[in-house]
């Protein structure tokens, strides 16, 4: 596991492709929390949805930054297509908390540095826990979508980009049924300072969708 994580970190650090989604993440965090008096649930609901799209972009960018020949040699080293999918799953599990961290950490840091009205009323530990869940689960779902349309399943980058965007629109279209919008709705409606049942259900919904997307990726890999 550590060896695979190190390989992914090395690949990510040695390509330029992740720079754009990472830069957008930074600007999005600064832009969102530039103004004081944010409403806790609504703001973190919105950044949770954003996290889904950013995770899709970042995972797709990292996978696209790995040349095909390098990916093939690594795939053979990890035992073939199943090992490759596990590697990609690990990448998603690394990216989702990485993206959640600034969205949660930056406002808390500002608060700790004395800017007391980042959130009005201030965020409670239960709010932070709920937001962490929503961001990570939305990130996992977004990352899974990127994996579905990554090589060797989709080799043309333009096609992959279009397919990921279309999938994110479909997820948004699911609204409050399941997916990132449902998670955002749940965190917005949750009572202050708690992680309630609807948040957990929404997060589980995101994870179930992510698992289904990974299943589809595994089936698709068999046909490549």
């Amino acid at each position: 596991m550590i060896a695979r994580a190190r390989y992914l970190l090395l690949t990510s650090a040695r390509t330029r492709t992740p720079l754009a989604p990472l830069a957008l993440t930074v600007f999005w965090v600064f832009g969102t929390f530039f103004y004081p008096g944010n409403e806790v649930g609504g703001t973190w609901g919105q950044t949770g949805v954003t996290c889904c799209a950013l995770a899709a972009w970042l995972v797709g960018a990292i996978l696209a930054g790995e040349p095909a020949a390098q990916a093939e040699m690594a795939t053979t080293a990890v035992g073939g297509l199943r090992g490759r999918l596990a590697l990609e799953g690990l990448l998603v599990l690394m990216v989702a908390p990485l993206l959640a961290l600034p969205f949660l950490g930056w406002p808390l840091l500002l608060h700790a540095l004395g800017q007391a009205n980042v959130f009005k009323p201030p965020a409670l530990p239960g709010d932070v826990a709920g937001a962490a869940l929503v961001h990570i689960c939305c990130g996992i779902l977004g990352g899974a979508v990127a994996v579905l349309f990554a090589p060797p399943r989709v080799t043309r980058r333009a096609t992959a980009t279009a397919a990921v965007l279309a999938s994110l629109l479909v997820l948004a279209g699911l609204g409050t049924l399941a997916g990132p919008i449902a998670a955002a709705q749940a965190i917005s409606d949750a009572p202050r300072g708690t992680v309630n049942g609807s948040e957990l259900v929404a997060c589980l919904g995101c994870l179930a969708l992510a698992a289904a997307v990974f299943g589809a990726a595994a089936l698709w890999s068999r046909r490549t």
Partner: protein
């Protein structure tokens, strides 16, 4: 013991079936040469055997790990080969290797392992990938045109390594290595072909010496070419 055993394998490239009813067995120490025209399915078959693609039909059984080196090796431009070699070693769950010493032993300039991959030539990257694959000591080596980008020193090094009893399946148009088995891919079929000997031609011209390995069936053409260019052919060894 068979390291790879395929029975009635169907291989596709995208939606197109490129090979049908492929039967092959590779045992320890076998060096099997895949021959065939461009587009005959050599790379597709190697990819299936490497686990990079699934066969569309038939049975495939592989014992132990494999290492695959594609024809055109590419690494992320800013990635240093030394970093990649270490990462691949860890991915395989193997102990660390002194890559600088290993590179020196193989005739590679170790300083080049610390340069970004973008600054290295095709042949250098191929040498790096082959170094990694050979040091992993997998049960099976799958090499796509491994000699095509190598210089004379590199070709000799690889031929020596392959002669050390490793099981390998390779495509090769250079005839540098003497295979123990040969498969010809033609018209979507894979048939065993006779193993041709590799001859070494020694020639001189104005104090310059030349030593070239050539397949038996291509030796006449080479000899004619050399004699036409004013070389004196000293001897031909089998």
């Amino acid at each position: 013991m068979a390291i790879v055993e395929a029975r009635t394998l169907t291989v596709a490239r995208g939606r197109r079936i490129v090979l049908r009813d492929v039967d092959l067995t590779v045992r320890g120490g076998d060096i099997v040469h895949l021959a065939g025209a461009n587009g005959s399915g050599k790379t597709s078959l190697l990819r299936v055997l490497a686990g990079l693609a699934r066969p569309r039909g038939g049975e495939l059984r592989r014992e132990g790990g494999a290492a695959f080196v594609p024809e055109r090796v590419q690494l992320a431009p800013a990635l240093r080969p030394l970093e990649w070699l270490g990462a691949m070693r860890r991915l395989r769950g193997l102990d660390a290797v002194d890559w600088l010493a290993a590179a020196t032993a193989s005739g590679l300039d170790p300083a080049k392992l610390e340069r970004p991959a973008a600054s290295l030539s095709k042949g250098m990257l191929q040498r790096v990938a082959l170094l990694e694959a050979l040091h992993a000591k997998p049960a099976l080596l799958l090499l796509d045109e491994p000699f095509s980008g190598l210089d004379a020193v590199g070709r000799e090094w690889l031929a020596t390594q392959l002669a050390q009893g490793r099981a390998a399946l390779l495509t090769d148009h250079s005839g540098t290595v003497a295979p123990t088995g040969r498969l010809r891919l033609r018209d979507g079929r894979c048939e065993p072909a006779s193993v041709l000997a590799v001859l070494t031609v020694h020639a001189t011209r104005d104090g310059e010496r030349l030593e070239r390995a050539v397949r038996e069936d291509e030796s006449d053409a080479l000899l004619r070419e050399l004699l036409g260019a004013g070389w004196h052919v000293e001897r031909v060894e089998r």
